[in-house]
Every structure is written in structure tokens, then in C-alpha cells.
């Protein structure tokens, strides 16, 4: 099978789910990596180390910023020239969009968000979550190429092989721009939720800390938010010790404690870390939908009846505002930090 894997990058830096897609591609045979952007020599080198056999590189200033139409046209040209049976993408925002457009351009279908893949001869069957993971469906597409996006962290990331290299073939950038990119506002660094190995998440309970004394000029609502933000700062300290990211429940976002970008759940981010520590989160069905594929869940909640305990491997029924700082100290000590 002729398998092309789209390696999603931002300013020359690959998103980790791209390497997982390369790993899946390798289970099908030889992998051709597609890399679009500008100034990509270092990325091409890394791609070979992650197992890509050859690279089709569209390295052009006109591709410096991701623009859906130009990237989709580049992809259409490459697939037309190259021919391909399977086209894999990571389920990133760009990957999903390009896969959707490629299905239109190449007169085929697209199977989105695969969490498992079976090959029967040339035909691939994908397992994908629907209804926020409450149900799984198995789907195939009879048309070629078979276009599939792979959910992040659902497949193992291959181990890099330092020094491995291969042929790079330059391909032309497409045209047809319909947008101009005026710039970026980047989120404050740190580990991204969808890539995180460990997530420490806070809910409504983050505000319930009567021992804190908010500044006198705040009204009741502002004082609640202030209290919650002090709590989230403690979660961040712990996440930093563990090399993880901080998430939040919808209740915490809607109450104005933290920005929407931190929301985990059905109408927020879908995450699947190795460890998910839920603090003051009761575990509404919409929240569980966003984190149920975490390998291990730990719950800290003062309400012993909270539904989150039903999914948790370890639980603490108690005051998270006392447990969290103590837990951070305990992790620091054990991890030698």
C-alpha cells in the first residue's frame, strides 16, 4: 500500500500526534511523509528518525502560515502526482480540516478520529467514538484513497531512531489562497492539554476555600473567582512538578474562574492522559465524556457520593485545599525536585 502521512507542524515544530500517525502508517508498510510549511529542514530530519521512509516536502514562504485552501490544493496536487491508497492525518485542528477538504478534492470519504484501525487486505476499518465516546462505531470507506484522521494519544508514538535518514523530494506549493494571516496570539506556554501525559483538573470546588481572605474591595462574585484562581494556581504548581497540564470542568469555566481553552469535556477538549487528577469535580456526564479515556483517574472531592469516584482508581474524600498543597510537597520529595 502506498501510504502518505501528513505531518502537522506549527512554525516547523511537529505536533506529537503526527508521529503517532507515522507509527500507524508503518504498520501498513512504507510511509511517505508530507511536510508543508517554510524552513523545514530540521523537521524533515526528525521525521526520518520517527520512521518516515521518504518525504514529500513543500517548503515555500507562501506556506509559512497554515491557510486551509492553499494547503488543501498542495495536498491535492501531491496526491494526484504521487497516487496514494491511504492518507493519514493526526486529528489536530489543521489535520481534520485538511482531511475533510481532501475527501472533497479527491472524490472519496474521510473517517475522522480513529482510535483503532484494522487492515483486511487493502481495506481499512476504523473504530471511532461517537456521542462523545458513549458509543463506538466501526466504519470503512470503499473509495480510494482511504482518508483517516487519528485521534491523539490513541496510538503509540514510535521510538525515534537517531541518525536514520532518507530521500526528500521537493514538491510545489499550491495556489488558491482565500485568506491572509495577520498574526497569532499564542497561549501561555506550558504543556498542551491534548498532548499531556498528566492532567490536574479543577472544578466548582476550587472556590470553596473559606480560609483565604480576598481583598476587601471585591464583591461576592469577584471574591469567589479570586478564591478559585488561588486554587488553580496551586493546581498549576502541582502540574509543573509532574510535567503536566491544568484543565477545568465546564462549571469552573462558566463561573469565570479560568478561560475556556482549559475546559475538558463534551463541549471542551477531549483528553486522554495517563493520569487525570480531578479536584473538586463531581463528574457530570459531559465532563466524563471528555476524559473517560484517561488511563488512570484520581479523584479528590469532599462529597463521597460524587460520580467521579465511580471511574477513579484512587480517591480521597476530603478538602482538596488541604490535600493539594500537601500532595505537591509529597510529589516533589519523591521525584527529587
Amino acid at each position: 500500500m502506498n501510504t502518505l502521512v501528513y505531518i502537522d507542524n506549527f512554525k516547523g515544530e511537529a505536533l506529537p500526534a503526527s508521529w503517532e500517525a507515522v507509527g500507524v502508517g508503518k504498520t501498513l508498510g512504507k510511509v511517505t511523509g508530507l511536510i508543508f510549511g517554510s524552513g523545514l529542514e530540521a523537521l524533515a530530519k526528525t521525521a526520518f528518525e520517527y520512521g518516515v521512509d521518504e518525504i514529500l516536502l513543500a517548503d515555500d514562504v507562501s506556506l509559512a502560515d497554515y491557510r486551509a485552501e492553499v494547503y488543501a490544493t498542495t495536498l491535492k496536487q501531491v496526491c494526484g502526482d504521487q497516487g496514494c491508497d491511504v492518507l493519514l492525518f493526526p486529528s489536530t485542528s489543521r489535520g481534520r480540516e485538511l482531511a475533510a477538504m481532501a475527501a472533497i478534492d479527491l472524490n472519496t470519504g474521510v473517517l475522522v478520529d480513529a482510535v483503532a484501525l484494522e487492515a483486511n487486505g487493502d481495506k481499512l476499518t476504523v473504530t471511532r467514538p461517537i456521542y462523545s465516546g458513549k458509543v463506538l462505531e466501526k466504519v470503512t470507506c470503499a473509495l480510494k484513497p482511504q482518508i483517516i484522521t487519528l485521534r491523539g494519544r490513541a496510538f503509540p508514538k514510535p521510538a525515534p531512531q537517531p541518525g536514520k535518514t532518507g530521500p526528500v523530494k521537493k514538491v510545489a506549493a499550491g495556489s488558491g489562497a482565500l485568506t491572509t494571516v495577520d498574526g497569532y496570539t499564542t497561549s501561555e506556554g506550558g504543556v498542551s492539554l491534548t498532548d499531556a501525559n498528566i492532567i490536574v483538573s479543577g472544578g466548582r470546588g476550587m472556590a470553596e476555600n473559606p480560609t483565604l481572605q480576598p481583598p476587601a474591595d471585591l464583591d461576592a462574585k469577584q471574591a469567589e473567582i479570586w478564591r478559585a484562581q488561588q486554587g488553580f494556581a496551586k493546581l498549576k504548581e502541582m502540574a509543573d512538578v509532574l510535567g503536566g497540564a491544568v484543565g477545568a470542568s465546564r462549571a469552573a469555566v462558566d463561573a469565570g474562574y479560568v478561560p475556556y481553552a482549559m475546559q475538558v469535556g463534551q463541549t471542551g477538549k477531549l483528553v486522554s492522559p495517563n493520569v487525570y487528577i480531578a479536584c473538586g469535580i463531581s463528574g457530570a456526564i459531559q465532563h466524563l465524556a471528555g476524559m473517560r479515556s484517561s488511563k488512570m483517574i484520581v479523584a479528590i472531592n469532599k462529597d463521597a457520593e460524587a460520580p467521579i469516584f465511580k471511574l477513579a482508581r484512587y480517591g480521597v474524600v476530603g478538602d482538596l485545599h488541604q490535600i493539594i498543597p500537601a500532595l505537591t510537597v509529597a510529589f516533589k520529595k519523591r521525584l527529587g525536585k
Binding site: 458509543v135 475556556y260 463534551q266
Partner: protein, 256 residues
């Protein structure tokens, strides 16, 4: 401005969906407008309030599709169109993109077609990009902020790395994320108006396309595996003791 919002009816987010007789069922959980599509309707209404014009909502489906359309009308949309046809049974999201494209073209003169980022039943999230590609319009997806400047739109797109600021000429496709603004609740007057509204139904032949072939083959549906865990409650005489015990347990799982 001539504005369109594409909406879908889905089971409520609290629905306990499971597979019975090879079909997804949700018992007596209510059907609602897809929560993401409320943001699409809200964005369209805000743009209309700022710049004048009309908001038309479109849905593809059977009778249940009226639930989403009526909700959007109650929020303040001016009119609604239901695209319904016996040939639609079993269509996939890509077919929906073709149908919505044809409907938008039939309406004519549309400046912006708004979509939610994805539907919470199928979770594909591909329809906005596919409709944009078919229309030949810019795909402004995952948008959190919209500014209109004459005949162009300047938007902020939510991407993994933060936000990308993009400008495009109208007409355009825009899909919305949650921080584009909380959708308004339907007013009492709005609900009355919506309940009386006559929603025209268009067949596929009326929008001038044959039934799009389904490209995706559904093999089987399975219930998500039940998580078999027994929660071990960690206790101790004081928070430090509990924390020590819990840290030991978590690190002992070798997941970090």
C-alpha cells in the same frame, strides 16, 4: 447582510446513549439543537444586530430537525428551511455538506454561512470545511472572535498553539467555538413566534441535486467498554499523611 446558520437536532448532552439492536438509543432523553450550533445561531444574530440583514436557519433531516430550527427561530432567526427527502435515509456528513452547499446556493446572495464546530452525535466536525470547499468560499473554522469590515471578515481562530488571526473576503464559511459568546435563551415572544412559524420543506429535487451517495460504510456500533475500576479510598490522620500515601500510590502505577 444575508446570513445563514446550519443547525442539527441531537440528543441532549446528558443523554445516556447506548447501543440496542445495532442502533444508538437514548431512551427518553430530550432532543435539542446541537449545542455547538447554538453558537452559530448566536454569532449570526449578533452580526445581524450590528450590520442589519436577515438570518435564515437550515437543517437537513426528518421531522426531528424542526426541533433545532424552532429553537433557532425562538432565539431570533428570521426564517427557517427544512431539507427533507426520503432519499436522505442513511446519509453521511459528507452528503450533508453537499446538500447544505446546494441549499446555500439556492438561497443565493448569502454573505456568511455559520456552522457549529461539530455535532455532538456524529462528532465528525468536517461539514464546515467541506461545505466551504464545495462553495469555493474561505473556511474560517474554529472561530472565537468575528469583526466585520465592509466586505471582509477578520476572525480569531482557536488553534492548538493559541489563536490565528485571519482576514477573508465575503462570502465565507465560519464555524464557531464556545468562547465566541454564550448563546442567548429564547425569549417568551420568540418561543411563541417559533411555535407558529410555518417552516417550508425543500426536497432534493427542489435544491437541484441528486441524492448524494454515502461514501462511508457503517459496519457496526458497539457500546463503549465499561471501565472496570474499584476505587481505593486513601485515608490518613491528616492531609500530609493522606498526600504521602496518595503520591506513593500514583507513582507506584508507573504512569508518569
Amino acid at each position: 447582510m444575508k446570513l445563514v446558520a446550519c443547525v442539527k437536532t441531537t440528543p441532549d448532552t446528558t443523554a445516556a446513549v447506548k447501543v440496542e439492536n445495532s442502533q444508538a438509543t437514548w431512551g427518553d432523553a430530550p432532543l435539542v439543537i446541537n449545542p455547538w450550533d447554538e453558537y452559530a445561531v448566536e454569532a449570526a444574530l449578533k452580526l445581524k444586530e450590528a450590520n442589519g440583514g436577515t438570518v435564515t436557519v437550515i437543517s437537513v433531516g426528518g421531522e426531528e430537525a424542526r426541533i433545532a430550527l424552532k429553537h433557532a427561530l425562538a432565539m431570533g432567526a428570521d426564517d427557517a428551511v427544512l431539507i427533507s427527502d426520503p432519499a436522505l435515509a442513511g446519509v453521511d456528513p459528507q452528503a450533508i455538506a453537499h446538500i447544505l452547499t446546494a441549499a446555500i446556493q439556492k438561497l443565493g446572495g448569502v454573505d456568511v454561512a455559520f456552522f457549529g464546530r461539530q455535532a455532538i452525535d456524529d462528532d465528525s466536525g468536517t461539514t464546515p470545511a467541506q461545505a466551504a470547499r464545495l462553495l469555493g468560499w474561505p473556511a474560517l473554522t474554529l472561530v472565537s472572535v468575528i469583526k466585520v469590515d465592509g466586505r471582509s471578515l477578520r476572525v480569531e481562530r482557536a488553534i492548538e498553539e493559541g489563536r490565528q488571526i485571519v482576514t477573508a473576503k465575503l462570502p465565507a464559511v465560519v464555524s464557531l467555538v464556545k468562547d465566541s459568546g454564550e448563546p442567548r435563551y429564547p425569549s417568551f415572544m420568540g418561543i411563541r413566534k417559533a411555535s407558529k412559524a410555518e417552516i417550508p420543506t425543500w426536497s432534493l429535487s427542489q435544491i437541484g441535486i441528486p441524492a448524494p451517495a454515502a461514501v462511508i460504510e457503517h459496519v457496526t456500533l458497539i457500546n463503549a467498554p465499561v471501565r472496570e475500576v474499584v476505587c481505593e479510598l486513601i485515608t490518613g490522620g491528616n492531609p500530609q499523611e493522606i498526600a504521602e500515601h496518595l503520591a506513593e500510590k500514583i507513582l507506584g502505577e508507573k504512569q508518569l
